[in-house]
Symmetry: C2
Subunit: 299 residues, 2 copies
């Protein structure tokens, strides 16, 4: 059966001519012997499903999604009625429009199988409906006991109380459904990024279990936080998202001759807000998820 | 009462010191006399609600939304089961997952008042639920009889049959709910842009009614199409969206020194696909909406 495992997992690898000679030889042997090609890093990464490289690529790509989602939310003014529990009144138990909107959209997306995917974490898990779609066999990379780490409530309050007022203009244009939809896309992107800390922690643990086991057994949160922290790498991430806010939030225009001109003085979302969002919330919350995950990694 | 109308509509105008002297004088008079300040173009535009300038700004901003939405959809492979009517089987009357997803999401968003806004046109109007939110008084800019022009079915087939396969990779990653959500965002952005042709036509008609009335009375679609067409302006739009696909679809990275470097050789969505989307579909369909709207503008 190892033959099938190896064969399936080789899909998506670099072309065979790019492999090292030992790999090429070993792959031939692997088909017959069940060898796991463990000396070759790119093959090993694929066999493991996640790797430091794939995790980093995921987080980098999510930055684009987060910046796009903020820019799209900034199309609309703040639109206070969306968040005002008195707006819909007693009929809806004083729930705000945004809360009802997110609850019902999550229930609908659960039917389509969204939360079968371990990367996705709902804000209102109690309302979810069983999927109508056949189950999909996602790779199970996370340690089951630790996978339930959840900071959704913190993300919710961070987004609505602290972040949203910073990048929306004051005002009310009546486009409440569009506003709620744009908020949901921001929330989903932020939640996916922050809860991906579980995968980050898993891949770091697998790479150097000995480094972590002592701190995990001692329930040493501070020690784990130190192990997980790289200030220089975090600074690169913060500066990169600031740069993305500039690049994606500029007005791209053509002059009368058809030449590209860009308005670099005015951005749709203040790049410093995006820098601070990552500095104050996204990176610290991701690391919090990582630490919480690791504390249960040996349970 | 004219006082209140003028006063309300002056919000958002340029600062008073930028007005011409006659405007400044007239505004003082207007408060007492009900003068509509009609000689001053920027004030007149505001009083009318839409203007050539505001329509152009809307369409330009929608380009960003369309390009973002395509880039976000391209995160996922094609994911054929989403579109396969046999995937969910007989229980769902052989509807595809995407059709059920869009129908139910539109119903949910209708409850939140999305389709009270005349800019928004649903794909499945027969399934809509009455809004739970109090009515919002949107400006009624469109001629009521002409406002019902609708090319949603054409947009649906254009997107799924012609455009989607061009910018998604082959494959299946199981993220069907995320895929359907990303498709819906693309569809909504394309529909809003194309159906905005009604506002484009209205503002062009108001600017020069005499030019259009003869052709409208003669039901001369070709003549109207000629009046509405500016090949040079269309070429600028097509080149601008191509440029936006390059700017928004690049990999923004920082090198080890923290300097910005961008990968210009590889884009998340092929800029030529976006150029062709506008050239072959978005611009022609918008103009079709404009012509159909004008044909009923005098009804």
């Amino acid at each position: 059966m190892r033959y099938h495992v190896v064969d399936r997992d080789l899909r998506g690898l670099p072309p065979r001519e790019q492999w090292c000679p030992i790999c090429k030889l070993q792959h031939g042997l692997a088909i017959f012997s069940g060898c796991n090609l463990s000396h070759c890093r790119h093959i090993q990464e694929k066999l493991n499903g996640i790797s430091l490289k794939s995790v980093r690529e995921f987080l980098t790509r999510e930055e684009d999604s987060i910046v796009f989602s903020l820019i799209e939310r900034a199309k609309y003014p703040y639109n206070a009625p969306v968040y005002d529990p008195s707006y819909l009144g007693f009929t809806f138990h004083n729930h705000s429009l945004i809360e009802l909107f997110v609850r019902e959209t999550e229930a609908l997306q659960a039917k389509a199988g969204r939360y079968q995917n371990p990367e996705e974490v709902p804000f209102f898990p109690e309302d979810l409906i069983l999927p109508l779609v056949p189950p999909y066999k996602y790779p199970q990379e996370l340690h089951p006991v630790a996978a339930s780490v959840n900071v959704s409530t913190t993300i919710w309050h961070m987004y609505f109380d602290r972040v949203l007022p910073q990048f929306t203009s004051k005002g009310n244009d009546g486009k409440y459904a569009q506003t709620a939809e744009a908020d949901l896309i921001c929330l989903q992107a932020l939640s996916r990024r922050i809860h991906y800390g579980r995968f980050v922690a898993e891949v770091k643990f697998r790479a150097a279990p000995k480094d972590y086991i002592t701190a995990i057994k001692a329930k040493d949160s501070d020690g784990l936080m130190r192990l997980l922290t790289s200030a220089s790498q975090e600074e690169i991430v913060k500066r990169r998202v600031e740069e993305k806010a500039k690049v994606f939030g500029q007005d791209v225009t053509l002059d009368t001759k058809g030449e590209t001109t860009s308005n670099h003085s005015k951005y749709k979302v203040d790049p410093m807000v995006v820098y601070s969002l990552y500095s104050d919330w996204v990176i610290p919350l991701t690391k919090l998820v990582e630490v919480e995950y690791l504390l249960h990694r040996l349970d």
